[in-house]
Symmetry: none
């Protein structure tokens, strides 16, 4: 049993887990990994189920609980059940009420988009590729100039990125297609291009990304699938799957990812500047 006091929140729990899982013996580390991957199940499972999941004996799982600072499994589960209860406000009910009025009434549609946005965000949180995201931030933070391109439904994302960069005094150009000028000559070797495009992919965006790649510029792509036409450009692919409502999507996840990317770049630049 551990001499430390038991975690009382998910934060503390995760912190503790990260802290000690390094030094755990084999079976207990199995438990730690399984728990880290399936935290959500703890509240509603038995020791037997969890230990099978982790591939260990129930007794091993018990030792794990004790190492984490709890007196046993029950106490640990209690914590998870309590924190779970807080999570549900009456949001679900509100949504029901919005929906209640009819199929294509404004409020029903709003409810759909709100729920789609929420699902997309939750999905984003669990599927985003952190490695690639960090790499993209590094690349962008070092770029002498950032080119942002995205048309049609990707355009709002592109314009918001530009706004964010501008606000943080980061050199960036939004390629907005005004005047049908050929924008590629503005891109110099070493510049970085952020290309945003969703199926059906717009040709201008693909062309610009391909050109950038040809002249040796790095491309960061925000798209709705890992494959797709951006593959060829060796882009750092950030994929987002948005939940559709009919023929439209709310862009919540995409915009969140974009703004997080932009702000991260800003933060990184500050750090580099102070580092010098």
């Amino acid at each position: 049993m551990s001499d430390q006091t038991a975690p009382v929140s998910l934060e503390e729990f995760n912190h503790r887990l990260a802290e000690i899982s390094e030094t755990m013996p084999k079976r207990l580390r199995q438990c730690a990994e399984f728990v880290a991957q399936n935290t959500d199940r703890i509240a509603v499972s038995t020791v037997a189920e969890l230990s099978i999941g982790a591939g260990v004996q129930p007794s091993a799982f018990m030792r794990f609980c004790q190492l984490m600072g709890f007196s046993g499994f029950s106490e640990m589960q209690k914590m998870f059940r309590e924190t779970y209860a807080q999570k549900w406000p009456d949001y679900a009910t509100r949504l029901e009420n919005l929906r209640a009025t009819g199929d294509d009434s404004p409020s029903a549609l709003l409810a759909e988009f709100v729920e789609a946005g929420r699902l997309s965000l939750e999905n984003l949180a669990s599927t985003v590729d952190l490695k690639t995201l960090e790499k993209a931030v590094d690349v962008l933070a070092a770029a002498p100039m950032i080119h942002v391109v995205g048309f049609r439904r990707a355009f709002p994302v592109a314009s918001y990125l530009s706004y964010a960069f501008e606000k943080m005094d980061i050199a960036a150009v939004l390629h907005d297609g005004v005047g049908n000028l050929n924008p590629r000559h503005a891109i110099r070797t070493g510049d970085v291009v952020i290309a945003i495009t969703f199926a059906p992919y717009s040709q201008e965006t693909i062309d610009l990304a391909a050109y950038a790649h040809d002249i040796g510029s790095q491309v960061v792509a925000i798209s709705d699938a890992l494959s797709g036409p951006m593959r060829k450009t060796d882009a750092l692919m950030l994929s987002v799957s948005e939940v559709d409502v009919g023929a439209f999507r709310a862009l919540s996840a995409t915009i969140s990812l974009a703004i997080a990317l932009a702000v991260s770049v800003g933060a990184k630049r500050d750090k580099l500047a102070y580092g010098k």
Copy 2:
């Protein structure tokens, strides 16, 4: 025990509950009401706890479970635990993990924006003024031409609205400020203006809305507060409060509201067209 088969989803469960709770004896109705109010707790509670909550004996609660079509409490709880697992695709955990790495790491920022977006959406669902929303839809559906205006951080919203209108073959103009032309002469009496602006309010947007109001056009405003400079224009005010992350916001709620508005207008126009 009921002769009917047991519900296998939350929907079925709720339906059944509504159906039979009318005709239940006193104690069992207490159970029904408590369960309806605390659906979320079932997965993580014991019969004893729930029956105390409902103010009945455990045996009464058992009878309730059987009336609902389950063999007993365990089976009912099983259903809730299973649907819970889907609803909770360890989103909370992932978010924790994202956050765990550090304060301004990309993943931590992303987690912040995702959470901010989620909160904003939930907030939107419970605070939006449905009356005004429906009125706005009516007005826009009848407009010969829709003008969309919004600059700086409102511009992504404005551009997405235009995209949606275009896709639905609805006549709309995006006033994007290119060329610094004075756009007001494009607005005719009877046209409707959608003005999007957040504090600090951009002068161009306010001016355009004021002009539109002067010539007798209706204004629909999407903004972050009910008061603010749009008040004077007699606008239909749709207010959205977004949760900020530092100096930025993810726009999730605003965009969701905007797209719901646009699609509603599209649906309404279809209805009017078929009606004729």
